[in-house]
C-alpha cells in the first residue's frame, strides 16, 4: 500500500489520476459514512456531498499542509460541505419526531442494519450534538479540533457530546425489552 504522502506528491507533480483514484478508494467509505451520519441517513445527499469533497480534494490538494492528517483534512471539507447544505435547508437536518425503526435494534445482527439504525437515531438528537458526536467518535477529532472547526466553544462541544451520548443511550435502553 502506497502511503498518502507519495500519492499526494504524484498527483501534485504529475497530475497522476491513478494516485488520485487510490486516495478516493482509501477514504471514500469513511467520508460517505461520516456524511450519512451528519445527514441522519440521507444516503443520496451524503453521496452527492462526498463527491464534492473529493473534487475539492483534487482542486485544492496544493493547499494541503501535512501538519494534520489527510483524513482529518477530508473530514473538515466534508463538514464544511454539510454546513453549506444545512444553511440552505436547515429544517431538513434538524432533529425530528420521525419514528425510529426499533425493530432493527432487536434484529440488528448485520452490520448494515446497525449503521442504518444509528443513522435513524441521529435524527433524534440536535444537529450540533450530531456534528460534535460524529466528529469525535467517527472522525477521531479531539475536542479542541472540533471546537476550532465548528466555532463552537470548547465547553459546549464537550457538553454536546456528553448529552448526545446520554440521549442515544436512553433511546436505546427505552427501546429494549425489559429483561425478565
Amino acid at each position: 500500500m502506497i502511503d498518502d504522502k507519495t500519492l499526494i506528491a504524484r498527483i501534485l507533480n504529475d497530475g497522476d489520476r491513478y494516485a488520485y483514484s487510490q486516495l478516493v478508494k482509501k477514504y471514500q467509505s469513511a467520508i460517505r459514512q461520516f456524511l450519512r451520519r451528519l445527514t441522519a441517513g440521507d444516503h443520496h445527499t451524503a453521496d452527492d456531498l462526498a463527491q464534492e469533497v473529493f473534487l475539492t480534494l483534487y482542486k485544492k490538494l496544493n493547499t494541503f499542509r501535512s501538519d494534520s492528517s489527510l483524513s482529518t483534512w477530508l473530514h473538515k471539507i466534508a463538514y464544511n460541505q454539510f454546513l453549506k447544505l444545512k444553511q440552505k435547508a436547515y429544517q431538513k437536518y434538524e432533529h425530528s419526531d420521525h419514528e425510529v425503526d426499533y425493530a432493527l435494534l432487536e434484529s440488528a445482527q448485520s452490520n448494515q442494519d446497525k449503521d442504518i439504525l444509528i443513522e435513524q437515531l441521529m435524527k433524534k438528537i440536535s444537529t450540533n450534538e450530531r456534528i460534535c458526536l460524529t466528529c469525535f467518535v467517527n472522525a477521531g477529532m479531539s475536542h479542541p479540533e472540533i471546537s476550532e472547526l465548528t466555532k463552537i466553544p470548547l465547553g459546549t462541544v464537550k457538553s454536546h457530546i456528553t448529552r448526545a451520548k446520554q440521549k442515544l443511550s436512553q433511546l436505546m435502553q427505552q427501546s429494549m425489552p425489559v429483561a425478565s
Binding site: A30, L55, E106, N111, I118, V137, N138, Q173, A179
Partner: protein, 101 residues
C-alpha cells in the same frame, strides 16, 4: 444487542462504522468527473487563447498594413520564417492536444 445497559464503551463501539462501502462505482464516477472538468477547463483555455490570437491579429492588421507585414516576412531569412512557423505550429498543437495539464 442483548444487554440492556449501555455503558460508554459499548455505546462508542456501537457508534463506529460497521460496514465498508463499496468503492468501485463511486471512485470511477469521481475520477471521470475530474477528467471531464479538466477537459472543460482546457477547452475554455484553448478557446480564449484562439480568440485572443484572432483579436490581436485583427488589431495588428488594422494598425499595420498587410503589405508592410508581408514585406517584413519576405525580408526575413528562410530559416527564421521556418522557425517562426514551427513555433506557431507546435504551440497550437500543444494547446489543442488532449494531453492533460
Amino acid at each position: 444487542m442483548s444487554n440492556n445497559n449501555f455503558d460508554e464503551q459499548e455505546l462508542d463501539d456501537f457508534l463506529q462504522f460497521h460496514t465498508e462501502l463499496p468503492s468501485e462505482d463511486f471512485t470511477m464516477h469521481i475520477v471521470s468527473k475530474v477528467g471531464k472538468n479538466a477537459k472543460l477547463r482546457r477547452n475554455i483555455f484553448s478557446l480564449f487563447t484562439l480568440l485572443g490570437l484572432l483579436v490581436s491579429t485583427l488589431i495588428f492588421v488594422y494598425f499595420v498594413p498587410l503589405s508592410s507585414f508581408t514585406d517584413i516576412l519576405t525580408q526575413l531569412p528562410v530559416y527564421a520564417v521556418a522557425l517562426l512557423v514551427f513555433c506557431l505550429m507546435s504551440s497550437s498543437l500543444w494547446l489543442l492536444s488532449n494531453q492533460e495539464s
